[in-house]
């Protein structure tokens, strides 16, 4: 702005706006799309969640260079922790009593839950996509068997966790989900030595069946969690 502009502004002061609010209210509000909303929600996932997720990815990719024997047990033991992160993000609105305010906004609690589940589901899928080839390459099992040993503990922990946060309240729900996830993690870490018969070639089809059932349960629990948002706002 040059000197003349300054001087004109000094001599001819703009009048104070009249009926500013009325004018603003008459304008059509600008809005963001649902896709942009989902992306914006990534910024509101807790930093701790991103840090833990990154550590799991580092663990998956670094473990073949640290331990000599098959890495599959270590990697599959990390999978329930990813499920724990996903469930914990999905449960945040209820845990922190934000559900009612979120329900009354344009996108509503349903969209918030959906956005979080989509985001966490996507990053977990990335982790699984990295884990399967790593475990197959550095392990003793086929790609299908490795995939099932990795995906099954994740799906079982996720479906159980989503069920728990639907029926239990507050921090108790979170602690219960953490306990179930840690139990599944420990089971996978210790299973090679104690339950070797579970991992013979003939048992792979049973792992497939469990994975399928757990996938159906996880989808069902997610849908119920999103559908029952009214119950959530009323009861939490």
């Amino acid at each position: 702005m040059n000197n003349l502009d300054h001087r004109i502004k000094e001599y001819f002061k703009a009048p104070a706006p009249k009926r500013k609010e009325e004018f603003i209210n008459s304008l059509a509000p600008s809005e963001i799309s649902f896709a942009r909303f989902v992306i914006s929600q990534a910024g509101y996932i807790r930093k701790l969640t991103w840090i833990l997720f990154s550590l799991v990815i580092v663990g998956i990719t670094a473990v073949p260079f640290i331990i000599d024997s098959s890495v599959i047990w270590f990697v599959s033991g990390l999978m329930p922790l990813l499920a724990l992160l996903m469930v914990s993000e999905g449960n945040r609105s209820m845990r922190h009593k934000m559900a009612e305010i979120e329900s009354a906004t344009r996108f509503s609690l349903r969209s918030v839950l959906l956005a979080r589940m989509v985001l966490m589901g996507t990053v977990n899928l990335v982790a699984i996509v990295i884990a399967i080839p790593v475990s197959t390459h550095f392990g003793d099992y086929s790609a299908v068997a490795s995939g099932l040993y990795i995906v099954t503990p994740f799906l079982v922990a996720a479906s159980a966790g989503l069920y728990i946060v639907r029926v239990m309240k507050g921090n108790t729900a979170l602690y219960s989900v953490a306990a179930v996830s840690l139990f599944i993690s420990l089971f996978m870490f210790l299973s090679r030595d104690r339950f070797a018969s579970l991992f013979i070639k003939d048992a792979v089809k049973y792992w497939g069946l469990i994975a399928l059932l757990a996938l159906v349960a996880m989808v069902k629990q997610t849908a119920m969690l999103i559908k029952n948002t009214e119950e959530i706002t009323w009861n939490w």
Binding site: E21, E22, I24, N25, P29, S30, E31, I32, F37, S40, Q41, Y44, R46, K47, R92, H96, K97, M98, E100, I101, E102, S103, A104, T105, R106, F107, S108, S111, V112, E230, T233, W234
Partner: protein, 235 residues
């Protein structure tokens, strides 16, 4: 601008929380008065579309309360609300602005305006967990105003406010009520007397009074208290 509540009911088993309430509201501030358990919060939640009625409808200019277009014109302050512990006041408002579909650039401006309006500008970047009850309540009021609502529903908005904050809130509501429909629930009679254009008194899920309080022989407070005396007489 018209909010139509038509035979609105909510039943939980044998208990009727809200019993066939019908009312038409236009621009102005409406005070909803009632004892704890009278059904105020249930009614407010149904008006906001977050609780499904057992019967009846709520529409704003013909838009049903369960529609996105209805939520787009709604501002709501619940009686009891929380916050994410890592949020500052500014984060909280920007987050709610995103949920209200307000673009980021516009949201930043609006958040600054509202923080100024509710007197929280100087603590905008402080964590909410360090706030007093009154500051949290003011932040709650600010989030309800983010989308310049045409329907503003405030459940016990004066709870936790000190006298100075109450005066500030009264002035704020007086100016907002000129352009939109404001419904505020409370069990404090003086709030309704000072803030509202019209009064709705609720008891056992129904309105026992609705309109301007013009009775020169009996004050609103006396009438309200007499309802409890009747209850005691029955017992």
């Amino acid at each position: 601008m018209e909010l139509v509540i038509d035979r609105l009911s909510k039943q939980y088993g044998a208990k009727i929380a809200v019993d066939r309430i019908s009312v038409k509201l236009n621009k102005g501030v409406y005070g909803l008065l009632g004892a704890n358990g009278a059904g105020k919060s249930t009614l407010m939640r149904m008006i906001c579309g977050i609780l499904k009625p057992t019967g009846g409808t709520v529409t704003f200019d013909g838009i049903d309360s369960d529609k996105e277009a209805f939520r787009a014109i709604l501002g709501y302050l619940p009686q009891d609300f929380g916050y994410y512990p890592e949020f500052s006041a500014k984060d909280f408002l920007l987050y709610i602005a995103a949920l209200k579909a307000i673009p980021k650039k516009e949201a930043k401006k609006r958040v600054a305006e509202l923080l100024e309006l509710v007197g929280l500008s100087d603590v905008a970047n402080k964590k909410i967990k360090t706030f007093s009850g009154g500051m949290k309540q003011r932040l709650g009021i600010a989030q309800a105003l983010l989308n310049r609502p045409k329907l503003l529903v405030l459940d016990e908005p004066t709870a936790g406010l000190d006298p100075k904050e109450r005066v500030r809130f009264r002035n704020l509501l007086g100016s907002i009520g000129k352009d939109c429909i404001v419904i505020l629930s409370t069990h404090i009679v003086s709030d309704v007397e000072h803030l509202s254009d019209e009064v709705m008194i609720m008891k056992d899920g129904s309105f026992i009074f609705q309109g301007k309080w013009n009775d020169s022989e009996m004050s609103l407070e006396d009438f309200y208290l007499s309802q409890f005396e009747e209850d005691e007489d029955h017992e």
